[in-house]
């Protein structure tokens, strides 16, 4: 019986495994390897610093989300033997005929000197709770919000955080006593031009200072100053930075990964370049699109269809076996309004005017996620 091994229990891994189990039933042996027994809905961390989201409701047992035909193995991948088709786990090797790499992105705040001591972030539950505590005792001053490296998970998150922070400070009566600065590594406020065009006037309207071409070099927690490679120094009382990201540790140094550990992936078939039968999706890939659950959600059916077709000895369905770069996501702009970004490789997003409708759709989606996404309902 063909053996399929899926690495990673996030959106991409969970969904691919469930779709394959539905398509193939007992015609394949499917094993999902995850470093943790919990499946975490990471977009919810954005609201935790403001006390608007309870982190406990953001994770569930991975087992409870997986089809019964998927075997779950909790272990951290130690290495990969691509020629011998084996995954090295701490206790044993797992052989495969088909491999799906969905190991996501990891944060590496230690890559920026002073980051760990001086900067806050909301890219882990622990970090988001620490920031919540810092915000609770914040009484005004200079806040700098920025990006410590591209690419990072959920590209709109630093913009959303800035807008929500402005709303939070207004509600707490601290807005007039606070100067907010938003920094971004390139010469506009967001990587996609059409989104930058709507976000920039909104930042100005909320009196947020904008500092572009700001690539963080170091943080000085003693002097409370963040310095960019471009030579700009920004003093802060509270610093919130998206940490730099890399691919999973075991990928670094493998011929399939680039210097940052992102897997070199075909943009249409999602096959790992040079390795038939090996696929990658979600944050783990080197594709020039958003690292977001939505990306993995639209990629998963392509991989499931390709592997199932090969096992069934048929041609893959041409309508379902190519990824066109589709990504959907909401962008919170604060004060109970949001906009919506839908795009693919060929079509940049045309965000509609921010409205309360998208804000409440986003809140509803955050709750409905568990019933809709991991199991493949939508």
């Amino acid at each position: 019986m063909p053996r399929i091994v899926v690495l990673g229990g996030g959106v991409g891994g969970t969904l691919v495994a469930n779709l394959l189990a539905k398509k193939l039933r007992k015609r394949a042996e499917i094993t999902l390897v995850s470093a943790t027994p919990r499946h975490v809905y990471q977009p919810g961390w954005l609201y935790v610093p403001f006390g608007w989201q309870e982190p406990r409701s953001l994770s569930r047992s991975l087992r409870s989300l997986l089809n019964r035909m998927v075997a779950l193995e909790i272990a951290e991948v130690q290495g990969l033997d691509l020629e011998g088709r084996k995954v090295h786990l701490p206790e044993r090797d797992l052989e495969y005929d088909y491999l799906v790499i969905a190991t996501g992105a990891r944060i590496v705040p230690e890559e920026i000197p002073g980051f760990v001591e001086g900067a806050h972030h909301f890219y882990t539950e622990e970090g988001a709770l620490k920031l919540q505590k810092a915000l609770k005792s914040f009484r005004g001053g200079k806040v700098v919000v920025g990006v410590g490296g591209l690419p990072h998970k959920c590209p709109p998150a630093p913009l959303e955080f800035t807008f929500l922070l402005e709303e939070y400070l207004s509600r707490e009566g601290l807005r007039e006593r606070t100067e907010i600065t938003y920094t971004y590594p390139i010469n506009r406020v967001f990587s996609i031009e059409s989104v930058a065009q709507i976000a920039e006037p909104l930042l100005q309207e909320r009196r947020v200072r904008i500092e572009t071409f700001f690539n963080v070099e170091s943080v000085d927690p003693e002097r409370r100053v963040v310095t960019s490679l471009e030579g700009t120094e920004l003093p802060y009382d509270l610093l919130v930075m998206v940490p730099p990201h890399r691919g999973a540790r075991f990928l670094e140094g493998l011929p399939i990964a680039d210097a940052q550990g992102w897997v070199q992936t075909d943009r249409s078939t999602l096959q790992v370049k040079g390795y038939p039968g090996v696929y990658a999706l979600g944050d783990a890939t080197d594709l020039p699109i958003s690292k977001a659950g939505s990306t993995a959600h639209f990629e998963a059916p392509v991989i499931a269809e390709r592997i199932a077709a090969e096992i069934e000895g048929r041609e893959p369905d041409p309508r379902r076996s190519h990824y066109d770069g589709k990504v959907n996501c909401f962008l919170e702009v604060g004060h109970e309004r949001a906009t919506f970004l839908a795009f693919d490789y060929q079509h940049p997003p045309k965000p509609p005017a921010p409205s309360w409708i998208y804000h409440y759709e986003k809140l509803a989606f955050n709750k409905a996620y568990w019933y809709l996404v991991p199991t493949g309902v939508v």
Binding site: I186, S191, L229, P288
Partner: protein, 80 residues
């Protein structure tokens, strides 16, 4: 006629904005002052973004080479 020796060339062809610029930023960060790096880009946005960043960051844009169709090579010297 190539008087400037390129110490390292980064191939960012096929990568979209801001990929090539971020590759340059990352590589210059690790380079020594005085070293010359080149980045190959097939993204049209680089023609604007890369020279603007090099100026802002205080480095030197030695030249831009037009390579095969749609590909440019940006040659940059680390100044600080």
């Amino acid at each position: 006629m190539d008087e400037v020796k390129i110490d390292k060339e980064i191939d960012a062809r096929g990568s979209f904005c801001p990929g090539p610029l971020m590759e340059l930023v990352r590589n210059l960060k690790g380079a020594q002052v005085g070293q010359v790096l080149a980045v190959l880009s097939s993204d049209a946005g680089s023609a604007k973004d890369i020279p603007a960043w090099v100026e802002k960051a205080g480095h030197e844009l030695v030249r831009i080479d037009e390579m095969e169709a749609g590909v440019r090579r940006f040659v940059v010297r680390k100044r600080r």
